[in-house]
Symmetry: C2
Subunit: 277 residues, 2 copies
């Protein structure tokens, strides 16, 4: 990592020099939000949308990004040049900052960090054959904010690995919400159903729905577990994985058990749109 | 802070030299547990019980404290001597450690930190006059583990401050569980009711119940919001605040609106037991 640079509180520095205070409430109290974007052909994709979501997450926790979007954009460009990834993910992390008593903090002095990493693509088979989700009851705390709280996801990784599943699918009292790190959509009778409540606004999800809108009806609605299992098609959207067809939820086969026509159409549309990005 | 020392990953060092990696999953993913104890007359109080709870919390996250209890005890003694508090709190923090991809980590290389701070006593009036709680619906994630996730508590602090309330009182679908950072107990017809499910095992709570046991019936049970509001007496227990009589929950006056006879008896018993600790 000796040639790897990150941005921390006003300064671009070698990663091994970057030190987070042990008194940071992001560490002591999990009081932090983040966002994650990717590059396409080396250029940040949907940067404006990710910054908008970061500001929205920050607002919900009473935090504020301490530098302007213009400066964030310039820092990202500099990091991408310094770190020379093929394609990169860019993580923006904002915490309440250092606390003198381990509880209270001054929102005027947050910790703000920008890190880049090589983007690793998932196995191609999830796009051709489709992937599986594992259903669990869980509601993220402040689900509309992208907080750093990934306890349930990290603990669930053992279970998904064991079951050969791509990701957890959360439901709240029988109402399906989202994946552990993705938006999830359901197709029924040619209509795309988007779970409406207790979900994070998906940046990639919104982009994909925009591509779908001119030809498909889209309904932001309540989706029950039974609706989900009986959907004609299911897909997830994610910044790092684009669109992934879902062909199983637990033991239930979705549709024919192969990627359906609408999700394949959307994957084509996305490929074209992203190559022109 | 220049004379303040902390322990981090094998070494006692000046706090300003202590650096947490920006790649620590405690920071990036809120994947961390902690425990907090206090000294009485400079000696760690209920240390064995706090260590037992830390190990239990760690287990639930698949983590392991990397040094023995004997070493932890010795480090705490050294820090207390170096930092020379009047009375101290001691925080033990354990995270999943550094992650190369911001998600996966090796439980064999956790981050383990021990910090001490001056113990600040709450205003004496909460003991003489009693305090107020603010009821909110919330279930902590993995409530039996003491994780670093304090989002709801920190966001709720504005509300409790505004209402002159000491703390949030959580309920899960109408069943009362615990305070945001305390155990809560209810007295009805001379019997002490202890909420049973979705609660952290309270170290101070267990100590106080042991003092009560020989003269009072104690029932680990389900306590509804209505039971709570209609209790004869209510009290909370907390490492840093001992026993606090609760005389209001939201707008509801508990009992006569003053500390009741059983909680006052328990406070007396605690004072005697703790002075002999």
């Amino acid at each position: 990592m000796s040639n790897h640079f990150i941005y921390l509180n006003g300064e671009i520095m070698p990663a091994e020099r970057a030190a987070i205070s042990p008194f940071d409430v992001g560490l002591l109290r999990g009081y932090a939000v983040f966002d994650l974007l990717r590059t396409i052909n080396g250029v940040p994709f949907l940067l404006k949308e990710h910054l908008r979501r970061l500001h929205s997450s920050a607002d919900m926790l009473g935090l504020r990004v301490p530098i302007s979007d213009t400066t964030v954009t310039r820092v990202i460009e500099e990091l991408l040049e310094l770190n020379a990834h093929t394609e990169a993910t860019v993580r923006l992390l904002l915490t309440g900052g250092v606390s003198s008593d381990g509880m209270h903090f001054d929102p005027a002095t947050p910790t703000f960090m920008i890190m880049t990493a090589e983007l690793h693509s998932p196995p191609a088979s999830i796009y051709t054959d489709g992937a599986k989700l594992t259903l669990v009851e869980h509601t993220r705390e402040i689900p509309e904010a992208k907080t750093t709280n990934y306890l349930t996801k990290l603990l669930g990784d053992a279970k998904t690995a064991e079951e050969g599943s791509l990701e957890l699918l959360y439901h709240t009292g029988g109402i399906v919400t989202e994946g552990a790190s993705a938006s999830v959509f359901f197709v029924r009778d040619g209509c795309i159903l988007a779970p409406r409540e207790h979900v994070l606004h998906g940046t990639m999800g919104a982009f994909v729905l925009d591509l779908a809108r001119r030809d498909y009806e889209i309904r932001a609605t309540e989706v029950s577990v039974s609706d989900a299992l009986n959907a004609d098609e299911v897909f997830l959207t994610s910044t790092t994985r684009d669109i992934v067809p879902i062909v199983r939820i637990d033991k239930h086969i979705i549709g024919e058990g192969t990627p359906g026509p609408i999700v394949r159409d959307l994957m084509d549309r996305y490929r074209i749109a992203a190559s022109g990005a």
